[in-house]
Symmetry: C2
Subunit: 360 residues, 2 copies
Amino acid sequence: MRRFDVDDLKDVAVGAAVLGTGGGGDPYIGKLMAMQAIRAHGPVEVIGVDELDDDAVVAPAAMMGAPTVMVEKLPNGTEIVTAFRSLEEYLGRPITAVLCGEAGGLNSTVPFIVAAELGLPLVDGDGMGRAFPELQMVTFTMHDVPATPMVMADDKGNSVLLHTIDNRWTERLARSATIEMGGAALIAFYAMDGRTAKRAVVRGTVSLAADIGRTIREARATRRDPIEAVQARVGAHKLFSAKILDVDRRTVGGFARGEALLEGVDDDAGRSFRIQFQNEFLVALEDDDVLVSTPDLITLLDADTGEAITTESLRFGFRVVALGIPSDPQWRSDEGLALVGPRYFGYDIDYRPVEDRVGT
Amino acid sequence: MRRFDVDDLKDVAVGAAVLGTGGGGDPYIGKLMAMQAIRAHGPVEVIGVDELDDDAVVAPAAMMGAPTVMVEKLPNGTEIVTAFRSLEEYLGRPITAVLCGEAGGLNSTVPFIVAAELGLPLVDGDGMGRAFPELQMVTFTMHDVPATPMVMADDKGNSVLLHTIDNRWTERLARSATIEMGGAALIAFYAMDGRTAKRAVVRGTVSLAADIGRTIREARATRRDPIEAVQARVGAHKLFSAKILDVDRRTVGGFARGEALLEGVDDDAGRSFRIQFQNEFLVALEDDDVLVSTPDLITLLDADTGEAITTESLRFGFRVVALGIPSDPQWRSDEGLALVGPRYFGYDIDYRPVEDRVGT
């Protein structure tokens, strides 16, 4: 167990954005809200998944929607607690710990709000080890944890409770409700007991996010290269240095979809790159050759600050360094690739691990 | 109180289709399901709304969706009971009587299924006195009855519970869930106590439907004109006799929308008519002149059989008689017209009662 205060939270927000691969929501918003909650209620206890009792009840809290919309629809902090409390009510038993659904800017900090407000511990882990765009894309699905009962709440006071036959159906029904709710909703779902959590959770991602954030902060404070420091910390492969030439981005079907065109700079001058995304970066290409694909992480870091750039903040002229980070091994299994591999997203390519595709 | 057996149910199905103004779902499907339920469990007690205790709990059961889809997605009879039972569970108290949400083919018979299966009485009334396409379009809304908690169930086993800030929001969220569920869902909603039901319910529409059905049946048995008999029974104004020339029908946003073109026959030869619909018939025109508009009822009867023709069964060559029937007086109030008047549906016309527009 370790207590996370406001400064730790700042590191988590910065580090989670690196794991968020462009998605997971703007870290800034979630950070402010979680800082406010911690100031009001005190530090949050972050516990290892093995510290859970087998009969503990754990559930993730998150924001669902297109990051492009989430930036404009600030949750006020009460909806997420309402959603979480409602889930507890429908379960008919107290939820004893909060969990992160994904590792990503907003969704690594939203659970801190719930944990702080309700005085619950936060489990050090999540369901992805990164961010993914659809809600069935969690290791929980591979461990047969149903997403429902799932509660959704909006900023107006509407709420929806879902019971579905599988997690793909949860995604379908929740996505259309999210769209009706204006493009973003606060959600509580995937309630599971401690025994299941010990099998299903990707471990250590909250403290990993904090470490990455601290690594960036300390590198900058000591005038070392923050990007090299991040690379070393997470075993990332540098893909290229580039400048953003153009961004084609639309909000379609409740997702931010599109493509960024980049031209190489410095050692990579003369090369052309593309990164395609659905909330999160899915595939990085050089001309028509795949450099890295989902489920491995593609992360764009600001060449100056070392901080991650999210899908919705991609802009012409930004100078970036692209990293490829190996995904959690669970995603590389047949079952994992069926859920989140390139073919699921419509790419006619086989997955090859980033470490095989690019040298270190 | 009066017991409705299988034969009464047949009359209800035929008569409710007349009140359904083209919508409310195919009466045939609902009839078969309700007949099966009555055969299995015995006749259904239909009670007057004044027979309800003030603290009775009443709720309508219905099928939601585009009638064009409902024809193809036969509910199996268990989903609607599941939805009704779930609503009861979320309310935390037993529902003591079933109600019709609307008067229309399928939705006048679906409540019989629930009543028969659960051994509950059915209230003689509904929330429209006709059918309307959107779920906030009920007299219940005018009497401040919230549509939620509302339960939706599909044929696959998914269910959704809604809590919304108003009935328009219920419609929005329920419509998008219905679309995801394949275009049709079974619903239970608008739970209210007996005291409220006495104010809010449009009275007598179940027995009215049975009377209309019997009127048509008896007229045909005695070789009288069933259409004249219906006209006399409901105070309908004959609009025209015509043949269907063309039907433009699309399923858009979860509704069957479109227009039928008709050419006058017999006394109306040489005249041209149009009927526009959104699940239900909204406006009947001669050339560009409005003959009848919502909330008054526009009903197309088969010129031979006197039975009502639903939106989804409109076909080239059908010979029909169009009737205009005065709506329940509640719909003619300012509040009623705001909910279901022609302007709500996008027509730039003022409502004028059918009896002022056309002679008897």
